[in-house]
């Protein structure tokens, strides 16, 4: 994280420490968390609390096994940030053990086993998310339904959310419904127009609630860009690629494809673009590389959403592009000052 602004003179670095950057990213999620709490009840906040405790405990456990300074690494807030991102990504009424599994896997396997912060090739939060998505498909699809709830104003109360997370809420089914992406995915033979007029998840209250969530994360993300915690390249390329893919297919087949607006305002599009794909450790470093990396994720998200087995593809898109990030970096090295053109990788025996 600190790499973004390191340039001589180094006195200007004051304050831009890893912990500051992590803290800013966490603060930038506040608008989104607030909107999610307003729409889905207290579940998201409870998830974040559970995830935070689990993350700190597993990080401390592994650090002490690895004989590293526990307090020093806990204070950089990176584990806490992973927990916050996972708490947001998981459905608000998901059982507590799903959250704990995801966080423990993210911290222990995806981060610490590779050597801790800065050495992980994959985004830890998305590894944890993918693990629980693959392992527990049923609880992972139970999002709190916004359709009737919003209409009647009956968002689950604090105690109801707590009950849903720690025990089984008997009438949980009346609170949950498919997300718009899930609804659109399972429209089967229906044409788009018919789906938007008949499927519950694709009605205005449901769509607009996801529009609100995405808008809130867009706001937080723009704040991060303004603070120069992240650069605009990855999110812009991601969203542009997603919109372009959606636009092309919408133009050719408007009866079955969804509009670019639908793709940009549902699911984890904004959250993924600004908070997940911009992870400085596992993404690309050069600006051109970031553009390629973001565009790749955007294309993959569209492919997975449209033809894949899962309704949303942010996690898998990001993980797949994490694989490619070193290769992209290898081919997009910027021109070194004083040199004619960029050296592409190692050229043994040559010096230009």
């Amino acid at each position: 994280m600190a790499l973004l602004r390191i340039t001589s003179p180094h006195t200007q670095r004051a304050g831009r420490r890893t912990s500051w950057v992590m803290l800013m990213v966490m603060l930038a999620t506040v608008p989104g968390i607030a909107v999610q709490t307003w729409l889905f009840g207290w579940g998201t906040l409870i998830n974040i609390a559970i995830a935070g405790i689990a993350a700190l405990l597993s990080e401390a456990l592994i650090l002490s096994i690895r004989r590293r300074s526990v307090a020093f690494f806990l204070k950089d807030y990176s584990a806490l940030l992973t927990a916050v991102l996972l708490g947001i990504a998981l459905p608000p009424t998901v059982a507590w053990w799903v959250t704990v599994t995801a966080v423990a896997f993210a911290i222990i396997f995806a981060k610490q086993l590779y050597g801790g912060l800065g050495n992980n090739p994959f985004n830890p939060a998305m590894v944890g998310y993918a693990i629980v998505l693959v392992s527990f498909p049923v609880p992972m699809t139970q999002w709190v339904g916004a359709h009737e709830l919003l209409a009647s104003g009956a968002v689950p109360t604090f105690s109801q959310s707590l009950q849903a997370i720690f025990q089984h809420l008997p009438n949980i089914d009346s609170y949950t419904m498919a997300t718009p992406l899930d609804g659109f995915k399972h429209k089967n033979e229906l044409s788009s127009a018919a789906a938007f007029s008949s499927i519950d998840a694709l009605q205005l209250p449901s769509l607009s609630s996801w529009l609100w969530i995405n808008g809130a994360y867009l706001l937080g993300g723009l704040m991060l860009v303004w603070l120069r915690v992240i650069t605009w390249h990855t999110p812009a390329a991601l969203l542009a690629a997603l919109a372009l893919m959606a636009g092309v297919f919408y133009l050719f087949d408007p009866a079955h494809a969804a509009s670019p607006w639908f793709h940009l305002t549902t699911g984890a599009a904004m959250f993924g673009a600004f908070f997940i794909a911009t992870d400085p450790v596992s993404s690309c470093t050069s600006n051109r590389g970031k553009l390629v990396y973001g565009a790749g994720i955007g294309i993959l998200i569209y492919i997975i959403r449209t033809w894949g087995g899962y309704p949303d593809g942010v996690a898998f898109g990001v993980l797949l592009m994490n694989f490619a990030a070193p290769l992209i970096d290898y081919y997009t090295q910027p021109r070194t000052y004083g040199h004619q053109k960029a050296k592409k990788g190692l050229k043994i025996g040559e010096d230009n």
Binding site: T101, F109, I131, V134, S135, F136, P137
Partner: protein, 254 residues
């Protein structure tokens, strides 16, 4: 192949048996374990170890084939020309695999159906061809048989441990469906460790097997390292030997 290197360097003369039986046992079970060190036969290991019974079934089948082929290869080792030895070995291994396939079809039909393609694929298990070429083709019958058995046992043990881990994490049970292998007496062997356990699909899918195997390899390396440290500390206490030749390449003895 690393095994070939170490073994040829250990046995410079072709006909001289490396008849140190305890070393053969130690090699097969621990030091040169086909699953943990040579990493051979990964394909069946990752694919079928979702439960203990699957792992045990495939492990036993592999062990029988490995022993049989080692004995047969050792018997013909002086009569097969070098140029055609590999096709000959593969034919021998394929015959034993066909035998075990027919036996499983006759006695454990359901398990045979569960394991499916991975029984015929024992032919392609590199551990078997590797042992035939690296050990059995240069050693007498008895050491070869023991080597096949120990290598097979080492493979089976790791398979069963991995299967147990995956079954426990994946379904919360142990030894389920053991009647497929042991008949009716094993009907009640199933151990429900966690009741009301939500199935963790990840552990039952191949990625879970990769991670489980990685953990096992890490555990072995950790134990080896600790043992080495212990030995080094012991040596340091005893004081240095009279003279020591420094070797920087290859395996150093002692």
């Amino acid at each position: 192949m690393s095994t070939e290197d170490t073994l040829t360097s250990e046995n410079p003369q072709e006909s001289a048996p490396s008849a140190n039986y305890s070393e053969i046992i130690y090699n097969g079970l621990w030091k040169n374990n086909p699953a943990l060190v040579q990493l051979l036969g990964l394909c069946p290991m990752l694919a079928v170890t979702s439960t203990v019974v699957n792992a045990l079934g495939l492990g036993l089948a592999t062990m029988v084939v490995l022993m049989g082929s080692n004995v047969a290869v050792s018997l013909i080792r002086n009569y097969v020309a070098d140029a055609v030895r590999l096709p000959a070995f593969v034919m021998i291994i394929a015959s034993f695999t066909t035998c075990i396939e027919l036996i499983m079809q006759a006695y454990t039909y359901e398990l045979y159906q569960i394991l499916g393609i991975f029984i015929p694929l024992i032919v392609t298990n590199c551990a078997i061809l590797g042992r035939a070429d690296a050990f059995a083709s240069r050693n007498p019958v008895l050491p070869s048989a023991l080597d096949g058995m120990m290598m097979g046992l080492g493979f089976t043990v790791i398979l069963v441990v991995l299967g147990g881990m995956r079954e426990l994490i994946g379904q919360g049970t142990l030894f389920s469906d053991m009647q497929l292998l042991f008949g009716d007496m094993a009907l009640h062997w199933k151990l429900v460790v966690f009741a009301n356990y939500p199935d963790v699909l990840f552990a039952m899918l191949p990625p879970g097997a990769f991670i489980g195997l990685g953990l096992l390899i890490a555990l072995k390396n950790f134990m080896d390292e600790r043992e080495q440290k212990r030995l080094a500390a012991q040596k340091a206490q005893q004081g240095p030997a009279e003279s020591k030749r420094v070797r920087v390449t290859g395996q150093t003895a002692s």
